[in-house]
């Protein structure tokens, strides 16, 4: 057997209060796709960042093709043929796609500090051709669709071939969490093609995907390697058990906890709602009901969601909560009406990174932590600790900045924000499980069921069709800003994903 493309031994990384990596071992063979699985906060991103020189480990060694190396920067890592697509998209929005692709490794495209646009275009085109993308290299990046931008990222990471004579190691940290199923298929095709000349490390919380595309899966738990699985014939359950150390619940979507919905008076009733990207939306959600909205990018479902939260202007239409007409002129008005919203872009819109877990959790429902007009620190502490415990949020303490938590734990805090007040009537969830591990997801689902049981109405823009089908009582399919059709989705009578896909196009 040839030398591994990459090997890690005993890698350790401490953060204040957290041991992110605690002696991790990992082997990446040549021409294989290695999956990396683990709960939120298991240390996956930290490990991968150490591999591209963004995190300096406290102890441990990294070997590239058998040679020990010290990686101090992205450039050094690229010199060894290692490149990474980050968990959050990282392109410069106001540059052209071509510039993003060659950024940091312009080579012949820049001579003595001067741009040669023709060469740049050619170089970028070569990269795009490699992965079969048809976008215009000179288009501004922020004019591209989400999926196209993901392609640009991959085209960019493949530039490391130019920097190293050896077959590259391409690291993909949760690339699928923001993609649609069709785009995921394209991506997987690319990954399989990459295997011909490169090694790939692939991270995803969707275990079926991991098993589908990877040759082998390494599992991390609490910053340690706990084992590995060859994917042939493996099932997600097995993998999940390794990740959390025990067998998870059978009922992922907690379907037996679903409540019967009374449909006398809808909690939310929307008639003829129109805005810039959607038109004539009719929508009823009963108390305790979970309504899923599915649709491709650009179907307008996200904007409907934002409009219902008062974050997007509307041109026409009427919204009633429990029969009472409400004016959604601001997010504040929506909050006052008992509406909560969990945005998809957690990092920029969902949370205030430098503020503490406690402050983030009580940002909306200030009343919950106040006595009269004054903040009661004791009250807040008790409240926050209760919710940290209840949602098993992994944090060194309630005063830790939320930005320091892993993505999944951040999301739980953001969700908790709407629950601490205890007066929520309608929850708008835009990809609430994006980036969450399977366990955390399951907990979010349980939470949604519990809330539904207490009469909270939920609008869910699901992360995947399966999730929508699993959770929703009813699914609306949106295309081009209109509701194309409505599919009932009761327990026992769930539609198949294919049924929905038919309607979406």
């Amino acid at each position: 057997m040839s030398v591994p493309a990459l090997e890690v031994r005993g890698l350790v990384k401490h953060y204040p209060g957290v041991k992110a990596l605690d002696g991790v071992d990992l082997v990446v063979r040549q021409h294989e796709v290695l999956g990396l699985a683990g709960e939120n906060g298991a240390g996956k991103s930290t490990l991968l960042k150490a591999l591209v020189g963004l995190v300096t480990p406290d102890a441990g060694e990294i070997y590239v093709r058998g040679e020990p190396v010290r990686l101090r920067s992205v450039v050094e890592a690229a010199g060894h043929g290692i490149g990474m697509v980050f968990q959050e998209q990282s392109l410069v929005p106001n540059l052209t796609a071509a510039e993003n692709i060659v950024l940091g490794s312009e080579g012949a495209a820049v001579r003595r500090g001067l741009y040669r646009w023709d060469t740049m275009r050619r170089l970028a085109q070569e990269q795009l051709d490699k992965i079969g993308s048809h976008i215009d290299p000179l288009a501004r990046t922020d004019s591209l669709s989400f999926a196209d931008r993901q392609m640009v990222e991959i085209a960019k990471v493949l530039r490391i071939e130019q920097r190293s004579q050896h077959p590259p190691v391409v690291i993909l940290d949760e690339p699928t969490s923001v993609l649609e199923s069709k785009e995921i298929e394209t991506l997987f095709a690319q990954i399989r093609r990459l295997r011909e000349f490169a090694s790939v490390i692939f991270v995803s919380h969707r275990l079926d995907e991991v098993l589908d595309v990877c040759d082998r899966v390494a599992v991390l738990r609490g910053g340690q390697s706990v084992g590995e699985v060859t994917t042939e014939g493996a099932v997600p359950r097995e993998l999940h058990r390794m990740m959390i150390g025990s067998t998870g619940s059978d009922d992922h979507y907690h379907e037996n906890a679903a409540v019967a919905v009374s449909s006398e008076q809808p909690r939310l009733s929307v008639r003829g709602l129109s805005g810039a990207t959607f038109k004539d939306i009719d929508l009823d959600v009963a108390a305790g009901e979970i309504v899923g909205i599915v649709g491709v990018h650009g179907s307008g479902r996200e904007d409907v969601c934002r409009a219902l939260f008062g974050a997007e202007p509307t041109t026409a239409g009427e919204v009633r909560m429990d029969g009472k007409r409400i004016d959604l002129t601001s997010t504040r008005a929506a909050c006052a009406a008992g509406i909560g919203y969990v945005p998809a872009e957690r990092k920029t819109e969902g949370m205030v990174g430098p503020m503490s877990v406690a402050d983030n959790m009580t940002l909306t429902k200030q009343k919950a932590r106040c006595t009269g007009p004054f903040v009661a620190p004791g009250k807040q502490a008790g409240l926050v600790d209760r919710w940290i415990e209840r949602l098993s949020i992994r944090t060194p303490g309630r005063d830790t900045a939320i930005g320091r938590l892993s993505g999944g734990n951040q999301q739980k805090v953001v969700l908790a924000r709407w629950l601490v007040g205890g007066d929520i009537r309608l929850l708008l969830l835009d990809h609430p499980t994006r980036g969450l591990d399977i366990g955390a997801r399951s907990e979010v689902y349980r939470l949604m069921r519990e809330l539904a049981a207490t009469g909270v109405a939920t609008v869910l823009l699901a992360d995947s069709l399966e999730e929508a089908i699993g959770m929703a009582d009813r699914i609306l399919v949106m295309t081009d800003g209109r509701v194309a059709t409505e599919v009932a989705c009761p327990n026992g009578g769930k539609p198949s994903p294919l049924d929905l896909v038919k309607e979406m196009v």
């Binding site: 738990r221 340690q224 060859t230 099932v235 929506a334 819109e349 990174g353 503020m355 007009p373 060194p396």
Partner: protein, 331 residues
């Protein structure tokens, strides 16, 4: 079938208490340290500098700047900037001087109220028109200056009977200038209100990430308007202090306090990008800036070198006081 190759016991979840490290605690005191170092340096340069009389004079001198900076700090914490404070203070001195004869003691609250209103109007313009606060208040600055020039008849307005504002020029116990005590009170009041109400988290959230704050239902617009309003009120109060000291109001009287006030905020270690900082820091910053403005020439630094030293020291002071761990990208 899956084949587990190795199994290790799960690690204990990390639940270590977060304790501030000594270094982190030190950064909080940096503005104070900078202040002490500066006083020490000035004393070394001129041993006469460190006398009770001289410190009393310095604290009296610093009072209007402290108040101006404290108000503007709120705007900066919200992520904006208020360039109109000095012009607004100038206008307020004129208004106060004009109204004192008719309104007497009532003139003070009326002027502060008027200044607060003008501040709020700028806040509303910023929020509703969606123009950067830098531009709104830059425009506000020129408009207010013009208004001040016109109402004052382009000249200073003498205050013949200054009894209604004279209390500000007294000394508490013979040593503490009343204006300095009032400035301290203003700072303490703002700090207290922020601390004990939800305002602190609203202001910080707005400053750190406006969109996240808005989507969390924070009254972002109101918070911003409020910040501008308080900033205006503080400018008005600073004007009262100036009038009590100058016995007159002038259309350009406080204009030159703009950059020192902004410098005070930044030297205090408040992030100019918003979110992180406090009015206490601005208090220390205002004292540092005042000592630089007044102390350097008094201890005999020649004019040209004074400017060079001022520039250099202020940059170094900011380098010391700014907590790099709280602000990821420095623009």
């Amino acid at each position: 079938m899956s084949t587990p190759v190795a199994m290790k016991p799960a690690a204990e979840p990390a639940t270590a208490k977060s304790t501030a490290r000594p270094a982190a605690r030190l950064t909080g005191f940096m503005p104070l340290i900078a202040l002490v170092v500066l006083v020490a340096a000035l004393t070394v340069a001129d041993p006469d500098f460190l006398t009770q009389r001289s410190l009393t004079a310095a604290s009296r001198t610093a009072a209007p700047l402290i108040v101006l900076a404290a108000g503007a700090t709120l705007v900066v914490l919200c992520g904006g900037i208020d360039l109109s404070i000095a012009a607004l203070a100038s206008l307020s001195t004129v208004l106060l001087a004009l109204w004192l004869p008719d309104l007497g003691g009532l003139a003070t609250p009326v002027v502060i109220l008027a200044a607060a209103t003008i501040g709020a109007v700028q806040g509303v313009a910023h929020v509703l028109l969606r123009i950067p606060s830098f531009i709104v208040t830059l425009g506000g600055m020129s408009v207010l200056s013009a208004v001040a020039l016109v109402v004052s008849g382009a000249g200073t307005v003498r205050v013949v009977d200054d009894t209604p504002v004279a209390w500000l020029d007294l000394y508490l116990g013979g040593y503490v200038p009343m204006s300095a005590a009032m400035a301290l009170l203003v700072v303490a009041l703002i700090a207290l209100v922020l601390k004990v109400t939800p305002l602190q988290s609203w202001v910080s959230a707005t400053g750190y990430s406006e969109s996240a704050a808005r989507l969390a239902g924070t009254p972002v617009d109101l918070v911003k308007i409020g910040a501008f309003c308080v900033s205006g009120a503080c400018a008005g109060f600073a004007a009262v202090m100036l009038v009590s000291r100058q016995f007159s109001g002038g259309p350009t009287m406080a204009d030159n306090l703009l950059l020192p006030a902004v410098a005070a905020i930044v030297v205090g270690g408040t992030a100019i990008t918003g979110g992180h900082g406090s009015v206490w820091r601005s208090l220390a910053g205002a004292l540092v800036v005042t000592l630089l403005r007044v102390g350097l020439p008094i201890v005999g630094v020649p004019s040209a070198y004074e400017q060079i030293l001022y520039g250099a020291i202020i940059v170094v002071a900011v380098a010391l006081t700014l907590d790099g761990s709280k602000v990821s990208i420095i623009k």
